[in-house]
Amino acid sequence: MADTAELVAVALDDATVAFRVAGDRVYTAVERASLSVAHGEFVAIVGPTGCGKSTLLNVAAGLLKPVAGSVRIFDRPLAGLNRDAGYLFQADALFPWKTAIDNVAIGLEITGAPRGMALERAQGWLKAVGLGAFAGRYPHMLSGGQRKRVGLAQVLIRDPKILLMDEPFGPLDAQTRQIMGNLLLELWNADRKAVLFVTHDLEEAIALADRVVIMSAGPGARIIGDWKVTLPRPRDIAEVRMEKQFHELHREIWSVLKDEVMKGYAQSSQAAEAS
């Protein structure tokens, strides 16, 4: 087991997450979720809206503590924040008062790296995500897709062993999502990190991942399915969707996911009526 490829990067064991809401009521977001991501493996979590996918990701990041169960990172119990992980958020998380290059360089600067070296490496990463010419722009001068690219460079410059992504391409239009997906695969291929990728888009999940994990509708969401995706790599997100295997897998997973999506939809409309 000395080989790093055999190591488990993230292991959630029966993790339950609950929040205290309005006095003594407790809302259980995720119930007894067990999930493991091997080193170098790309795992996508798919589930209906509001099912607690992001909650699970925050647990892996150490931003949330499970009330029961355990989280192990590279076989060590996680205490505090997960220092091995880089996190790409769904919402805009760049520092609006820093230029693109400063946003990327900051990840190195705070570790005490000299500024000149940090800027040089940051420029390299901006180039890698296709924004070499935009170093001096502030986030508000960039498009949504460009901001995501800067975010990706900001996370990757620290060379984290684990990449956590929370619907990172959610707010983007369809074409930009495809481009970003391919960019992500390209960068990931060069240096395979463990990836935990949350999305509500099943097609995106199958196109990107090695494994697709399905969560049930909340509250008390559980992991209800786990499929291996054996489509050959390197993949092109647009082309891989034409393949027969893709369609079969999609049909199979969707038959399970559909019921959960309907359940989630019914619950959220009931909640809206009740309130």
Partner: protein, 262 residues
């Protein structure tokens, strides 16, 4: 409307207003003046008063004093507001304890403090600076407090995940956010610094624009009162232009500033 026509119409407004003023203070309508010169003076007298002030150089001394008082009030009030605002925002318990007193002092119309400041600090510039400080401090304080509180949770989480310590979060996240809020209230706080200085001078002093106006009023020299008001407005507009330039430089990263530039 092109720039030139706009400028033309803007000038026309001034010309018409001044002409009407001149007309009604000098030409009797139905046998009497609608605007008695004793109360309203007239534009020519006001204008010649302004010219005289600048020609003799009397005005410079007063302008410099008012400017100096405003600058001091702004700097001291801002530094105090930033420090206390930051401290309160990062220490919610301290903020909770002081909250009612902050509200109480802020609710007080600051003008009533002027006599006390005169008593404590004399008729010189420091009593005016103190009045300005009480005005500037609260604006900056509330903005900095808000700026720290309003930092987006995602940006904070991002900072933490990138490995920032609390000190680095303060430097790279809380501090820029607080300063941006402070800068966005720059116009208001600079304006209040001038208000503090002028009101202070008006209520008791030996120099400054407020003193000039108050003196003229004391001898019913209405032309000089109006002249003082015009000089004061021009003074504030000039300062405001300066603030706008500084603001553009400091808030380049802000979307709103970019739109304003367009």
């Amino acid at each position: 409307m092109s720039r030139l026509t706009l400028l033309f119409w803007q000038l026309m407004v001034a010309v018409v207003a001044l002409s009407l003023w001149q007309f009604f203070t000098t030409v009797p309508v139905f046998g009497r003046l609608l605007l008695p010169p004793f109360f309203f003076s007239n534009p020519i007298d006001v204008g010649s008063q302004i010219v005289k002030w600048f020609a003799t150089g009397v005005i410079w001394k007063h302008l410099v004093i008012t400017l100096w008082e405003s600058v001091l009030a702004f700097v001291i009030g801002s530094v105090g507001g930033v420090l206390v605002g930051f401290w309160f925002a990062r220490q919610p318990r301290v903020a909770a304890v002081f909250d009612p007193y902050v509200k109480m002092v802020n609710a007080l119309p600051r003008v009533v403090l002027a006599p006390i400041f005169t008593l404590w600090l004399g008729l010189g510039i420091w009593s005016k600076v103190a009045l300005g400080v009480t005005l500037v401090f609260f604006i900056v304080f509330f903005n900095v407090y808000q700026g720290v509180k309003e930092v987006s949770n995602t940006v904070l989480d991002n900072g933490r995940m990138l490995g920032m310590s609390e000190r680095q979060l303060t430097r790279h996240v809380y501090w820029p956010s607080a300063l941006s809020w402070m800068f966005s209230s720059l116009h208001t706080s600079v304006g209040f610094a001038v208000v503090g200085a002028v009101v202070g001078e008006y209520l008791g002093s030996a120099a400054g624009l407020g003193y000039l106006i108050q003196q003229a009023e004391g001898v019913f020299d209405v032309a000089a009162v109006f002249a003082g008001m015009f000089v004061l407005s021009a003074f504030v507009i000039l300062i405001d232009v300066g603030v706008t330039l500084v603001e553009r430089r400091l808030l380049v990263w802000r979307p709103a500033a970019a739109e304003g530039r367009g």
